[in-house]
Symmetry: C2
Subunit: 317 residues, 2 copies
């Protein structure tokens, strides 16, 4: 399926992916109804968003927040948008492909310690299973892109600092395994802008015309600075979640994913058009206020308002 | 006194100025006791901070939070550190110089509308008064540096967008009036990193070997991204406040000054040594928790903790 990635992620623009429906709900105590999630997706789509991570393919008995992942996949596909699903094992990967996601994300940790703790297997075994997932995708003639998210790519809560060269080596191994794209994740918010820039320069050189994903958390306040550093180093695809939903399991109460609306604001102030109607995205936060009243909504822009005299125009693709 | 600015702000390092004792307390309902403020100063000095804005020279009947500004000026001077005082009129300027501040900050707004609203006079008149303040400084043989903070330099809550060329023009006028240094303030957090970078490139070219100050607010989440953009454009002197004290009068509850400890973290992750012991600065927040229990303390780092395996060493000047 190589070649499709460039169609789904045109290289001539910055692309923001809404991951709040998956990463944002991974750890929350409450979650929106399916109807409210659908409203969230429809309204963000109308505001110009085209890429939605809809959920994890996990047993709904243990993860009720993702019980509607197939329904949401259908919704996103029916809008002509791009549906992303996460799978943590072979069973989940098959389920996701059969559900019709247009992109399947699987996870590989940058460090052996974290891969063992998280997936209970060595990274080499994970790489073999990634290759098997690619073969499965081809066997069942799924059109889905396969994306490997490299977790802890900027530092590991178990192993400490991570060498960008090691992440590059793993990304190369993923490409050899046949995946379509690779993501680098600052999973626990350890990255700083110089480090992210170095990593992205390596990724830009490695990937050539192919896209790669930058998945940042704002755990230590550097999310937006890191995003701009990544952009300047050639990155064009960014994950974020509405209101920064999605905390850090190792830091209760800490900020989670980069705040979607603040990331739109960052790029627009920098003259980089996102194609997203910022005011409408801010308005969509009311779904979360209503459906998850006990959840902290992050983001400074929604609180402070847009600057006087600045106007925002959507150029939806 | 020209020439002293380079001694107080050596060009070979980044310098973070603690402005929490002034800007941070401008709008708060409560404030620390003088003893607690002194503890804050002494502990931050021990952690490597060398520049403290100690207060505003205003009638203590109306601004009780600054009633101890002379005492704090003496304390900072006794430590061999740099004491900054703000004055909003000629009377305050004389008071500050006579109190022995080693730097006096006066304010000029980037826009005519804001200068009229804030100081009730045209900018040209403010410039004349700035020249008079410089003459006063020389007459009374004060060794204080005179710094003009250009408010609303990146956008104005009354007039909207601000042209960087206009800020440059005003900075030149300040230099002609004889001031030692100039600051640019993102007073209401309207600036974005590209805009800040353009403004700082102009300031770097204009100021040559002389320092200039970058005063950022984090009102819309871009404070740290803006700081790095400013640094990359040549800025070396930054204001910040412990726990981000200091809100925005136009956005109740919004974040105020850039968080001091997060700014230290930004630079240290980027390999730019601040000379400041980050862990100790985080620990000093307890003074604010104790003395101002109803005040929101900002900053993600204090909540999330330092990354595993990262060590911080103070290289106090």
């Amino acid at each position: 399926m190589a070649g499709d990635a460039e169609r789904v992620y045109p290289a001539d623009r910055v692309i923001l992916r809404e991951v709040g429906l998956r990463d944002g709900l991974q750890l929350t105590q409450s979650f929106p109804s399916t109807e409210a999630k659908a409203d969230w997706i429809r309204r963000e789509h109308a505001a110009g968003v085209r890429h939605f991570e809809v959920g994890s393919f996990l047993p709904s008995s243990r993860f009720p927040q993702f019980a509607d992942v197939r329904e949401l996949t259908d919704l996103v596909n029916s809008l002509g948008a791009h549906s992303l699903g996460l799978a943590l094992n072979g069973r989940g990967a098959r389920d996701a492909l059969e559900a019709g996601v247009t992109e399947l994300t699987v996870v590989l940790s940058a460090t052996e310690a974290h891969n063992m703790a998280n997936a209970r297997r060595p990274r080499e075994q994970s790489l073999s299973e990634i290759a098997a997932t690619v073969r499965l995708r081809d066997e069942i003639r799924s059109p889905a892109l396969i994306n490997v998210g490299i977790a802890m790519a900027t530092g590991c809560s178990l192993a400490g600092p991570v060498d960008p060269a090691e992440v590059e080596r793993l990304a190369e191994a993923c490409l050899r395994a046949g995946v379509d794209l690779v993501g680098i994740a600052d999973t626990v918010g350890y990255g700083g802008p110089r480090q992210i820039a170095e990593l992205c320069r390596r990724m830009t050189a490695l990937m050539g015309d192919r896209p790669y994903v930058v998945h940042l958390h704002d755990t230590r306040g550097l999310g937006l600075a890191n995003a701009l550093a990544a952009y300047d180093a050639g990155a064009r695809v960014f994950d974020a979640s509405l209101a920064g939903l999605g905390g850090c399991p190792f830091a209760p109460g800490a900020t989670g994913n980069v705040v979607f609306e603040d990331l739109v604001y960052l790029f627009e102030t920098a003259g980089i058009s996102t194609g997203i109607d910022l005011e409408e995205v801010i308005a969509i936060r009311e779904i979360l206020s209503r459906e998850m009243p006990d959840e902290t909504l992050h983001g400074t822009l929604a609180q402070a308002g847009l600057p006087k005299g600045m106007t925002w125009q959507a150029h939806a693709a």
